[in-house]
Subunit: 396 residues, 4 copies
């Protein structure tokens, strides 16, 4: 049970803080998923989802986590033994690669340093070498949630095209969709993978795919076993606003509301808001004398700072998880842990989803306070620097 | 948007009416799924779920529909080409059989008439004939949602034992768990399959398996491909109250509340409540001069009336879907359609989940009113008969 | 804490069942009552309230009960020692008269039998006799909540006019506004008194006055002490959408939503819905062989059946409160008690506010069941009669 | 409708941010205010309210604003023409004095400078001079919401006692109860006046009085007209957990929850939390180079900084309302305006009610940002100073 002093700040890089408006929508009484009101709901959700993904393509929604949406993308488009080209942007790229192996695919992962994005040249080079076109898909993570690095998806598309290679382009937008500029159609993506609990401002529980015509065609000959994840029956039922199996009705109530909120604010405005908060966060990090994990965008091809989260490197000998514990205990604020290779070395500040200046400054304030309490060497004044960044822009 | 005259009566056989207490719990702010509060939540949900399923075995929870939980049960315990013995109790038994085929199994279905339950003798006979033990699992539906017939699971267990057969026993309790007496341990079930939106009084979005030690053992050598549905990593993480992938946090808030409500009322009391409502519903159906789809329990082995729903046969030449439309339009009450073989021939009254006498009498009242408006030949007085049934018992 | 079997049926004649849509609105975060969003809220509420009261006059809203709104009407228009003509329609008319005495007024109450409405002839006669115009106000109850009798307000207005008397007309619409046809302007009412928790479908907590120009004029010379209830500062602030003291913000969120629901459904449709439910309730009462408290509208001037509630006479020697206890205990349904003179002799079925056919039939069903359990002599078949009444009309 | 970027910061000195747990409680279905569940609710609320006011005396609750609770205190204890000694601590003390005049009392107000609290010596002196005991009550404001100054209530009590004067002591705790240490019994207060929307963390809509035995005795001979506010019938009904008129049921649901939250945290802990946040706020104000309105506690008798709000003086020639507009527009944060004599000269930061370090730092952050955007001369670093204050204490 919460106490009066607890307005939890959920500043992990997802799940994110769900707006009251969305929570209230989710609390509406469940309706008949075979009745006319449901069809109206589902069709509106599909339409608005397309608007947010900037696409006119088909979408499918699963009661699932984001990993389910990864699985759906692979089993619908590929066949046993197919090669998939991946890129080690961080922890989630690695997990996706492991999943491909589990499903009977043969992933090949271009190594990365967990501080930069997908190198388009490396992709192009590898595809050019694949003269037999054994590689059936290129699968990349748009915003690597474990590192706070954004890859240049249009450049990956261009690399594939430059290589004249027919591979499908699968993109994980789990922590970017709804927070960072993303364009399924314009960027020539074949399958967009995403889920509910990040930029879409919902609780976890929905996974989704956006599917290009080329991916649909590939699905016709894909041989991996699929039942729950099978696009075909979902797409057929979806045209009328229904689902093949019982859909997550109340989550869809929330999704209608959350997508409406994004579209009311305007996608460009949403992205600009997150860009601004990310810049202010980096300003704070630098003022503290700490280092942002993501490399300088100017120096590394295909690499940009994430507007959804900022991963911060701890000074040597200081444990990021200890800092996070102090901040949780003293300030009821959750930050993201460093994962796998960067465990304990970084902490991650989530600034995606429903978020505003006051919440950002409160978050940065308790991080600064926590650095002090935990005895982490740093300069004060991070919040001051963030305020300067915020008002320098908003004041113009 | 609802209007003042609309307190929708969701009397399909699931999703069911979600209590306000559960809806409010679901509307709580999402929390960090890696934090200590989450672990407390998850462990409490697992414990209470075990109590409701009357088991001390392992449970896994998926962000999924009920069909996902079916798939999980099959892929974790079986290998390509394995034979599965099934029984055609109705539509959902057939769908499960189709799923087995899709997954590369070889289901063999004992035919049924859609008005009776699993015949334990037929099961025993078939297993005795399987001297090679090619059949690896017997998969039956406890409460067939399409027909309102309950099968005798302990008798099926006894049949398997009588045949001295090692097959696993997989039981679909999707529309029985939390409404109809069910005992995973005592009845010797290997995998119990269920989901959130029926007797558990939640919106759709969670699927679950209860797993016996024997099923766990089988899982070690099962060869079907599995990733999302794989029990092993979920069970490992679950011991500490965590999930392998992002769990449906807000649904779990609701599940904790809904399970608490069932346990506060008492499982025996919950089942007795549903038994009583089902008896009153049948009294109304008979008073209308209509026929209940389920055969007389006295005449057919392994067959009992469902306490979760009642399927009602329409008089010849009258379309059940037309009746349902009239009732939805005039009375804002949703009833279940006849499915597949019994489409348009039956309608189904759901009386499971959160339900009381007043809601039952309101439901039966509008069905009686709808029969009149739709011109379906019937005697009035169904509600009178239901009242007599309710008060005869409650007055004792 | 509610249990799974409890969807309480709140069938007292107010507070009424609050729709989810309204409850969710009330649960929105409180806002600054001096900020621009608040002004928009308040002005919308005032406008919609005027629409529901069918007026273009001024309205004031109080954080108060309905009795507070009575007090407001009196202290703003009258001076110490003023005579007020009242009519004993039942308990609430008597309470209002007591309040007038407490405030230093001199109420004169025309006796009534608690089974009929205001006799316009008696009003006219009394006013004609008041040649000195000592009577400053005629105060009547539109729908007497204690008896289920509606008085003919236009006939009272006509009686005042026929007598050529300048008295103000004050009308209590506490249990009629939003359920029974009422027209402040067309009927020439000077002060309409109402509150939130009946036909307006809100929780208790708001009282209100609608104020004619003549009443405003009277207020300028009224000498009763007033501070909290003083119209003037509230009206001044209200023009800009603000309040003189801190307003009940969250209740106003709910009021905006509830008024919107009434206007979306249409006031004529809302009234017709309640008329229909009242007729079905009376059909049930008669089928049970019981008597409705309200006299036959054809036989008593100024008397009509209430569409908001039905008061039912118990057979002699049977205690209505015992019946209500049985129904509450067995069926989680609240009915209204008989008050004062008719205590234990009548029970009241509320069918006002958010209500539909299924809820009505559920309510009548449990009343019929309760009559049986409590051993009250009656004929079964009340619900059958109600169904016939409902479908006879709706089927035309 | 809210947008994704809006998690409004309601930092006026009340209404305050209502915790989700309280909002959810308020959204529960309304119940019968004459039924047994209601009595349990009311008795629990009364008990917990007594615990929070540190009293064993009687309490009454009104559906009203705080001004209603003022009126109730006066009309129940006093008679026409009675003299009341008041003290001009600020705007609300003045309003209370105006109310006394309106009600037919004769208030005498000791002038103050709006920057300090009640001077106990001045009270004692005036009472000593009143040898006829014409003064029937001393009425003071504990925490003056317009200035952020706390008066020393025990010292006022001591002054009355030292003068050997029988006057009642009436104390407005509207913005202190639940945030600042307050003790009705120990401090010898006769009537405590408060309301729901400040430290009690509820929406507005409830006013309340705590009543000493001496005040109850005075009520027996008090002659001011009273009806709605009359303690006597409310106290009689309240003993059984009922109300004389329809109570604000849903607000009471919320009140039970909010009082539980305060008691779960512990009253001492709640007060310490607010003391700490107030100290951090003053540290920020001083770092900005601005002045706190409240005089130095060390220099002025009966004066202490408020732990509920901080009023900040603007530099000359700068308009506080313009600053508030900038902050509302840019940062969706509401601050309190300067009222009456200090209009435009001060702005008020509310830090009472449900509040924690992160929310405080977010609030101070946007104030600092707003000072910059509005061109108000100030030093940056206020948040840095607040962090130092917060961690200096919490780190010990």
């Amino acid at each position: 049970m919460s106490v009066a002093s607890s307005r939890h700040f959920l500043q992990i890089p997802g799940p994110t803080n769900v707006p009251d408006r969305v929570l209230h929508a989710i609390a509406n009484p469940t309706i008949d998923h075979r009745g006319p009101d449901f069809a109206d709901l589902a069709l509106e959700v599909f339409d608005k989802l397309r608007a947010v993904a900037r696409t006119s393509a088909d979408v499918v929604i699963y009661p699932s986590s984001g990993t389910g949406a990864w699985e759906a993308a692979l089993v619908n488009t590929l066949s046993p033994g197919d090669e998939v080209l991946m890129y080690e942007t961080g922890h989630f790229a690695e997990l996706w690669s492991e999943l491909a192996t589990t499903l009977g695919l043969r992933p090949e992962t271009i190594p990365g340093d967990w501080r930069s994005g997908v190198d388009p040249d490396a992709i192009e080079q590898r595809l050019r070498a694949d003269t037999q076109h054994r590689i059936k898909a290129v699968a990349v993570v748009h915003n690597e949630t474990s590192t706070g690095v954004v890859s240049d998806v249009p450049a990956v598309r261009a690399a594939i095209d430059a290589a004249g290679h027919p591979a499908l382009l699968l993109v994980d937008t789990i922590s970017s969709l709804g927070s960072i500029d993303y364009r399924h159609d314009e960027w020539g993506v074949d399958v967009t993978i995403s889920c509910s609990q990040k930029g879409l401002m919902l609780p976890p529980g929905i996974g989704l795919n956006v599917i290009s015509a080329k991916a649909l065609l590939a699905a016709q000959s894909a041989k991996l076993t699929k039942a729950y994840w099978d696009w075909q029956p979902l797409l057929s039922a979806g045209k009328q606003g229904y689902f093949r199996y019982t859909p997550p009705t109340n989550m869809l109530f929330g999704m209608r509301e959350a997508l409406s909120m994004l579209l009311e604010e305007g996608l460009d405005e949403v992205c600009a808001r997150h860009d601004r908060h990310a810049a202010a966060t980096r300003a704070a990090v630098r003022a503290w004398g700490l280092e942002v994990l993501c490399r300088d965008p100017g120096t590394t091809p295909g690499t940009d700072h994430s507007s959804a989260l900022t991963a911060v490197l701890m000074p040597p000998e200081h444990d990021a998880d200890r800092l996070r514990e102090v901040i949780l205990e003293h300030f009821d604020t959750s930050l993201g842990a460093g994962l796998s290779k960067v465990a304990k070395k970084v902490f991650r500040i989530g600034h995606l989803g429903a978020f505003n200046d006051a919440t950002l400054l409160g978050t940065l304030g308790v991080v600064e306070a926590g650095l002090g309490l935990a005895g982490v060497p740093h300069e004060p004044g991070g919040v001051t620097a963030a305020i300067a960044e915020l008002t320098g822009r908003s004041g113009e």
